[in-house]
């Protein structure tokens, strides 16, 4: 795929560097916008970096190119991470990121397709993305396209019943062009997923619904890249990749803390977080 090679040239598959840029952007964006969800963004950043830096086919100059892979962020509150990835991949200027969540900005706190290019679907209310992705994948498969549909979903989001309606549908229609990556950080809005309504045995649930399931470290770029470049996991089954992650990954004092689902990095905390990202100091 010449086009996909072209689109990844900017990063030459250096997805750890792309991830570092996304993290720094996201930190700046949540600071300037005084907004929440930095923990959720940092949690999925490596997944996003591998998807946009190495796995997905797209053309930033032609965002509607019919042969592109489709990406849907179902956990729409982590929008800043996607805006940052799109900017770094050339869909729009990184300057726009500075306006995140400020009045009259094109970037709002939950992912919106208006008015910027490259965003397939707006989300924000949990449990919507997978059904839409199913419709996309069903249509693409029916038309003989080799485009894939990638969805990044939260683990807490799987409390939503609509996820399981879609899970049944995808398996029934053998949508092996559909790839769901679950950001399994074990935390949701109040406490851990297992102390809220337990998800485990999580992989077994997806298997029982007819999906091909794999699990890995969601911060291991090599593992993510390898696993996501050999699709489908099994023919005629939708793909579910449970990516075990750490909420707030990359900033030690944010890691595994529900607080950073809500808190905006300001003042000394912002400086400490910047330092942690720049120097890999997780103990700040």
């Amino acid at each position: 795929m010449n086009r996909s090679e072209a689109c990844h040239k900017a990063w030459q598959n250096d997805t750890p560097m792309l991830a570092k840029h996304i993290r720094k952007h996201a930190l700046m964006m949540t600071n300037r916008g005084n907004t929440a969800h930095i923990g959720s963004i940092l949690s999925m950043t490596d997944i996003i970096a591998v998807l946009y830096g190495a796995v997905m086919r797209f053309d930033a100059a032609k965002p509607d190119w019919i042969g592109r892979d489709r990406f849907i962020l179902s956990k729409g509150h982590a929008a800043a991470g996607v805006y940052a990835a799109l900017a770094e991949c050339g869909f729009f200027s990184t300057d726009i990121l500075k306006s995140h969540c400020q009045s009259n900005s094109p970037l709002c706190g939950h992912l919106t397709h208006k008015p910027l290019p490259g965003i397939e679907h707006s989300t924000g209310s949990l449990g919507h993305g997978l059904s839409v992705a199913c419709g996309r994948a069903y249509s693409l498969k029916k038309s003989g396209s080799d485009s894939r549909v990638f969805v990044v979903m939260g683990d807490g989001e799987c409390d939503e019943g609509a996820i399981w309606e879609a899970a049944l549908f995808a398996a029934h229609h053998q949508l092996d062009n559909l790839v769901v990556i679950i950001d399994r950080n074990h935390l949701q809005s109040m406490t851990t997923t297992e102390n809220t309504v337990k998800l485990e045995p999580f992989a077994d649930k997806w298997r029982a619904f007819g999906w091909a399931v794999d699990q890995l470290d969601g911060h291991d770029h090599t593992a993510l890249n390898t696993r996501l470049t050999t699709l489908p996991f099994r023919s005629n089954q939708p793909n579910c990749l449970i990516a075990n992650t750490v909420k707030g990954c990359g900033v030690g004092f944010m890691e595994n803390q529900v607080l950073w689902h809500y808190r905006s990095p300001q003042g000394s905390e912002f400086i400490a977080a910047c330092h942690a990202l720049e120097h890999g100091d997780n103990s700040a």
Binding site: H121, H128, S131, A133, R136, A137, F169
Partner: protein
């Protein structure tokens, strides 16, 4: 009306191979012809309305013209947020179809009465809200909704005895009966009661104009304004709560113009659940919405208000 809908869909599917009919597991037998002729354009997602609208949105984003079907509140209220966030916000060509509008399911009870749908869907941004009263309106509105981008709502009832050759235009009230003493306005299947009521009023010396307001949103207000200028009073009739439905819509049309009708009354369901057991005809009678009740309630108002407002115009 359901048959007219499906026959129209077959005609549309013949011309458009990217038209998809989705159902959340309802429509036993009525879709047989469609399925036989267009098996690749039919999708039963199972009893899963949220997924139906999500999948429908995804299909529409890939270029399909989508009709998403279920009965009563299942295709509307059950998946309201999917209609709002997924279909409407992305302005996809998707029509939500609800069969059994109002109290068409009769004795099946409260769960199956679609009696708030017009108000609720009307509030969603950009949605075209329709409720045909007869076969011709069903055919024309189905076609119009397929042809235009954006989300539509088509509220169907099971049958209608009405026959009128008056042309149907989306957004434009359809004048089914001429008259200059007052105007009866209704939407959906209950227009048949209103037409019967108008005929009965002749015996009482009242010539009522009748408008079928098959498109509740968007609504061209000129016929509403004309009704006030030419006939004085307005009575709206809907098989729907009076909160926010047709009557409210009509009121908005004249109040914002600074117009005051000689009299105005909304006939519809009261602000409480429809918890009585009966078939549709019985329920209409019970709630004062059958032809006899419409005549009676209108005459009372007509007599008092005409006296009060005498000379105003």
């Amino acid at each position: 009306m359901r048959n007219a809908f499906i026959e129209t869909l077959i005609t549309l599917a013949e011309k458009n191979p990217r038209l998809m009919l989705i159902t959340a597991d309802l429509g036993f037998r009525i879709f047989d012809d469609f399925i036989e002729r267009f098996p690749e354009q039919f999708l039963n997602v199972g009893v899963a309305e949220q997924n139906m609208i999500g999948v429908g949105t995804g299909l529409a984003q890939e270029g399909w013209t989508v009709f998403a079907y279920s009965i009563g509140n299942f295709s509307t209220l059950r998946c309201l947020e999917q209609i709002r966030n997924d279909a409407a916000y992305h302005n996809v060509n998707l029509t939500v179809v609800a069969s059994g509008g109002g109290m068409a399911y009769g004795t099946l009870g409260m769960s199956h009465h679609a009696t708030e749908d017009l108000a609720i869907l009307r509030a969603l941004p950009g949605i075209t809200v329709t409720a045909p009263c007869d076969v011709l309106e069903t055919v024309q509105l189905t076609q119009a909704l397929a042809d235009r981008p954006g989300v539509g709502y088509l509220r169907l009832e099971r049958s209608s005895s009405l026959k009128s050759d008056q042309p149907v235009h989306l957004g434009q009230p359809r004048r089914l009966r001429e008259g200059n003493d007052l105007t009866l306005m209704a939407t959906g299947g209950i227009v048949s009661e209103v037409m019967a009521a108008a005929e009965m009023m002749v015996n009482h010396g009242i010539e009522a104009r009748v408008l079928s307001i098959h498109t509740v949103k968007p609504l061209n207000p000129s016929e509403i304004h004309a009704a006030i200028i030419e006939t004085g009073g307005i009575v709206t009739v809907e098989e729907h709560t009076v909160m926010g439905g047709l009557g409210s819509t009509v009121m908005e049309c004249f109040v914002e113009q600074g117009m005051t009708p000689g009299f105005f009354m909304r006939l519809g369901l009261p602000d409480r659940a429809v918890d009585q057991v009966g078939d549709q005809a019985w329920l209409r009678t019970h709630y004062g919405l059958d032809a006899v009740a419409i005549v009676q309630r209108t005459r009372q108002l007509f007599a008092t208000k005409k006296t009060q407002h005498c000379g105003i115009q």
